[in-house]
Each structure stands twice: as structure tokens, then as C-alpha cells.
Amino acid sequence: MNAHVKPATELSRRSLLKAGAGLVLGVYVARSGIAFAEDAPAAKSVNIVPNTFLVIGKDDTVTVLCKHIEFGQGPFTGMATLVAEELDADWAQMRADHAPSNPVLYKNLLFGVQGTGGSSAISNSYEQMRKVGAAAREMLVAVAADEWKVPAGEITVEKGVIKHASGKQSGFGAFAEKAMQLPVPANPKLKDPSEFKLIGKEGAVKRLDTIAKSNGTAEYTLDIHDPGTLTVLVARSPRFGGKVASFDASAAKAVPGVFDIKEVPNGVAVYAEGFWPAKTARDLLKISWDDSKAEKRGTDQLLNEFRALSKTSGALVKQEGDVEAEIAKGGRLIETEFVFPYLAHAPMEPINAFIHWKGDTASARYGSQFPTPDHAVIAQVLGLDISKVELKTILAGGSFGRRAQQSTHVAMELAQAAKAIGPGRPIKLVWTREDDMRAGYYRPFGVHRMRGVVRDGKIVAWADTIVGQSIMKGSPFEAMTFKDGLDSTAYEGSNDIPYAVPNFRCDLHQVDVGVPVLWWRSVGHTHTGYAVEAFVDQLLEAAGQDPVEGRLAMMADKPRHAGVLKAVAELANWKGAKVEAGRARGVAVVESFNTFVAQVVELSMGADGPVVHKVWCAVDCGVAVNPDIIRAQMEGGIGFALGHILYAQQTLDGGVPVSGNFNTYRSLRINEMPEVEVVVVPSTEKPSGVGEPGVPPLGPAVANAMAKLGLPRPTQLPIRPGDTA
């Protein structure tokens, strides 16, 4: 992506829409003066239709079209909060739906294409969505002024009611059609934060998606049953990089309900009337695989290779002072190796996607996290102009990074499966849990070799040699994330530790492995957060310092790190790591995606491993738009992280992924969920995201608490590798 700065854009586009029976107000408010890219591949030829973020119905409902996918992190509610705030709408009239694929209108202002990731939904939309609401408000007021023959300045709007002192009043719906005819104000006046009624206010809004998610009516991709839809299951190579050599489908074809069986680039696709016939038939396929180009190494072998590399210096990421000279001066040298496993995302709804290819046109809908590249690849595979292809994002049952596919592998497989049987029948591509868990796209496997020197009660040298696989190499994001040939997501958090250490070195061995890898909730911080925060705790212990006080002493120029650390210490009433008999506390603080999170964990040792009783959490994400959603993301991030550091790993045996389901890829259960207390630190900084940043501090805080109980600090994750369901 070639980002460039575009000058302030006039608010130019609007269009009339009909949504159901209601007349609607379409408002498009362009942002101004932020770096972005216009040259996304799909951008030039796309058919721009619904030029809007906002639909106001005759019935006064206000529907916000959300450019970000809702998979639990809360953008439906977040975008609607921003619009409703400036529109002075009543929360009860607010609705949200996904925007269709359109890289010009609905691009993420951080990426330049439409997509959700990097905990960026609120941060990139904060001003944009407020302007949408403010512009719509000014237009509605202008119509009211004209109708009532009163000055616009005398009109007020409160909780969805437009009012004048003369007693005249109206809802939004009555004026929406006329408002449509007006020019969109270029610079609508935004509220001063002191005037906010919804943003940052406790209890002011409820999630817009809760009811549908509590009564079974929320529609996910797996629920699509358009008439004539065939369910498609694909048999894929057990090893990464394997290809079909030959196959025999005779037994599979005989299964009642099977419509067809075709070879596709990824394997062999079974098309059937429903899941069970498709699965039954797929189990009967006899396929011989060509593994000549497949990855055949197991994780044991990878560990040996990575471990050997970690004992040599990698490509330099950052250096200050001279670590080796400092080591030579003496003091206590501490060396620790941390090993991180491959992790599957395992969202509750496994991967799936739906498309109806009609020949001249195609219509796809599923939980696409990156609509722009998905849209382009579907059009390309089907040989259609992108203007003939629709892509609609719908709710997805979790992601944790899994649905943000820079490789577009699911969109491609969907389109290839459609192409293989030709136009006509709609198809729903369904992956089983085992398909999803064994398909790769894991959090990369990796090693950190840390060395530190403690002298006179101070940390005087710090070195971190990382061995890992690049997530971004070969992807459309390579240009954005690579620096000097190195993937910054492999070391983010390790090169910029918040602690002032005079001699510092961070280097990286970027290793190629034939296992597809992907970002996983908090990306590089999943391992760098653990390595840095467990190691600093180890060094502080050697230096005889308190984990909280010792950290604060090295954070003089890191006010936001220090701020959350102090806040969590106060919340937890921190008086040192040792608490009542049999229990201990650990702490960690990690910044990710410009959000700062500190956590204190209190645990004891059970018969099978650590039992985490309580987690205190302080978060600084700038202006807090929806405090309850922020708390929910911290609670969920803590549970997600705890399950993984205790139990989760995907191992490879001769290149074949071993775990296929939750019986061996153990997930946290309710009886293991600690009590959680969250404080949202007040801030006037720009808002930043919360979907990911609750994850990284939890693991090292657990490790640090275990060390305070006199147990070994876990250096190879997961902590309980043999534990199954």
C-alpha cells in the first residue's frame, strides 16, 4: 500500500436510499488530512452504490452502517454511540448493520482498504462517525427551521426530538426525506467532550446485538439456507503444501444427498444437500497426496533448529550502548530461553463462507474481516468485473485474527469451489472444527533468548534474540509492516521495552517454515509481552526489588505505562507479591496498539497446576467511548489468554498438525475463570482499541506469581501441555 496524504476533502457525496419502506437520509462524510491509500486494487472499478453511513427511517429508527465486522468486540455499538452522540438521538432508536464491501466509502482510515484489525475500529472512526452524526443533525435542523419558519439557532435536539420554544416538535423520520435534498455540511460542529451524553457515560448505552444473540435469531454464515444451497466440504492435504496426486470418489458419490464431487486447487470438494451427507461422503473419499513439496518437519525438530539459532546473533533490530561490554564488566548475568507454541484461533464458529454465482453476477456473504481483498479475489477467480460481484459482511462467531486473511485463502477457496461446479446453485463452504484447527494460519512458533545483567541492584544490560516466522512476508501488508527486511510484528514490544536500560540489544532470526501463520489476538505481543514481562520480573527479583516499585523506577519517561501500573496496584491494594499463605501475586504491564494495560494476578497452586483466583486490570485506551464494552474486552481477553497459556498448543508430527478439536486443544472453562475487576483510567488522549490489548499481560503476570510461590517461572508454554479435556 502506498500511503499518501490527501488534503482536506469536501463532503461531497450523498444519495437517496430506500431501506424497506422507510425514506432515508444518506450522508457521506469524508475525513480530512489523514494518510491513506486510494490505489487499492478494487477501488477503481467498484460500483459505488450505497453512499452512506446512516439511514433514518420514517419510523424514526437510525441505522448506522458499520464498516467494521462485529464479532463480539463491539463496533456495532461503538459506531452507533459516536453517531448518536452528535445526532442527539435517543439510544432506543439506534440500530446497526454491516456496510457492504466498498473500499472507497468504507475503508479503514488506518489501512486504506476496508478491513478490521489492529484494534482500530474506534480509533480510526472516532471523528469520522461523529461527523456523520453532526452533519445529519445540522441537516435535520435546517429542514425543521424551514418548515417551522424559525431560525435554526433557536432549535434544539434532544433524545431524538427536534424542538422549538414555540411548542413545535418532531422526530427525525418526518424530516428525513427533505433533509436528503440539502447539501451535506462540510464542517459540522462537533461537541466539546464536556457536552457528551453517551460517549464515556456509564450505563448510557446497551449493546445493540445482545437481544438477537440471546434468542437464536442472530444470523451467522453457517445459518444461511438460501433455497437450493449446497453445503461444500473440502478434503485438504494433511500436510501443509501437499497436493492431490489422485483420488477415488466412487464410494463418496453413492452417499444419498451428494450432488457432485470435484477436484479444486486445495483438494477435493464434496457438494451435498446439507452438512451430514457432505461430511459422510468426504470421509469416504480415497485420496493419495503428493507431499513432495510439503513441510515435513515436526515441532520437536523446529524447536531444535530455533534453539540453535537463538544462540547466535540475528539481524539487528535495535541497539543502545554495548551489551557485550557490559557483560564483560561482571555482575550477575541471567539467561532465560522462552519457547512459544503454534496457537490456533479456534473461534466458536469455524471458518465458512457463502456465495451464489449466477453467471454474470455473484453475491457473497460471510464474516469477511478484510472485504476489499476478499472481494477482489472472488471477482478474479470467477472472471467477473468487481462491479458484478457483491460482498456483504455478516456477523461472525469470533475471530481473534482468524478471519483477517491477508492471503484471502477462504474467499479464494469459496470462489474456486463455485467455479468448479459452475454457476447456478448457491454454495456454502463449511469447515469442520478439525479442518479449522489443522489448517494452519497459527500464531507463529518461536523462541526468545533473553540475557540480562544485574549489578548493584540495577538492570544494566538487556539482550533479546528472537527466532520466529514472519506473519507479513508475501502479504499485502509487507510494505506497511517490514522495516529493513524484517517483519516488525515479529519483534514489536521487544524492541521498545518501557524500561530504561543503558545497554540494550534486540535482534531477530526471521525463519521460513512451510506452515501458514497469521496474526492472533495481539499479534507479536502474544510472545514479546510474555518474554519481556516475565524476564524483567526475573531480573528485578535478582536485584532485590519489588515488581511494581522496580518497574516504576525504570519508567520515568513512560507516563501512560506508569499510570496503569499505579492504577492496578491501587485497585489490587498491592503490598508486595506475597499475600496470604499459599497464594502469591504477579504483575505485568504491556502496551499494544497504543492501549496500555496492567494486570495483577493472584493465584495458588492446585493439584494439577496454578489456580488463578482473581485478576485486577487497569486500562488506558484514551477517551473511553463505551466503558462497559471496554470492561467486557478486558474480561474476555484475560480468559482467552489464561486458557492459552495454561493449555493450548498445536504441535506437528512429521508436519501433520496433531490437535483437531477441543478435547486436545483445551479451552478455558467457566470453573477456571477468575474473578476480574477492571478500572478504566480516565484519559483525554485519542481513543485507541481494546479488542486485543487485554491479552498480553495476563500470561507473564501468571508466570511472575508462580515464581513468587517458589515455583519455576514457566519458560515453555503452555504451562500444562499434557492436559486434555
Binding site: G216, L222, T280, P350, N661, S667
Partner: protein
Amino acid sequence: MAAFTLKINGREHQIDVDPNTPLLWAIRDNVGLTGTKYGCGVAQCGACTVHLDGQTLRSCSLPVSAVGKSEVTTIEGLNSKEGGAVQKAWAALDVPQCGYCQSGQIMSATALLELNPKPSDQDIDLAMNGNLCRCATYVRIRAAIHAAAKSLEG
């Protein structure tokens, strides 16, 4: 293939399927009720939880041929006072995140309250630990079950 009559949410449905078809897929693909979800297929996650004669059941692991005359209740047919209280508590506390597991969570929570109107934390652990939530909404699930129990005290 064989013909079966399933009694779901008080209505009878005739379907013609492979007798080994799990009840889950009969409910979803043949009857067309999609609130009950697929998450693992091996009774490990609880996303497919329904009630069979009032007891929780992992519908992914019971063949349709074994259902017999039993009455199936899915999230769409949840109409007991406990079910209503659970759904209200879910809304009051904004429990769901991605929402995909929540039909199963609500079916398990409702069955718990129908059996035990005032569950302790340990009772909740026992009744709910077969329902995974990858978003880890567990703190709120627990709080919402307690809130629902309180609301049923009258």
C-alpha cells in the same frame, strides 16, 4: 435414508435422512431452526445444547434415530419462566460478545435454574463447564445466572 418424526418446540416435523444424522444437523439443515450451533461435533463445546424432555443434551452427538418420541426444545422454543429470566439477565448484563455459543449457554443455564432455583457458584461451575465460550464471557454468564435466580424469587 429413513423417515423420522421429530417433536421440536411442540411441533412435529417429518424428515427423511440417514439414521446416523446427528440431531443437530437435522434441526439445522432439515427442520431449518438455526439458533442451535455447531462448534465441535464431538460434545466438547456445548454450542449445540438443546433440551431433550427437559434435560440438556449435546445435539451434535445424538443420532436422530435415537431421539424417538422425546420432545426437543431449542432456543427458538424456550418459553419457560426460567428461560425468560435468563434471557432478560443476559440482556441486562450484556453477556454476549460474538454470541455464537450463547444459545447453548442459555439452554444450559435455563435447565440449571429449572432444576435448582438458587444455584451456588459451584452449582454453576458443574452445570456450565461443558459450555465453552472462546470470548470468555464467563464472568458475566455467572453474574447473569445469579441475577436470573434472584429475579425468579419474585
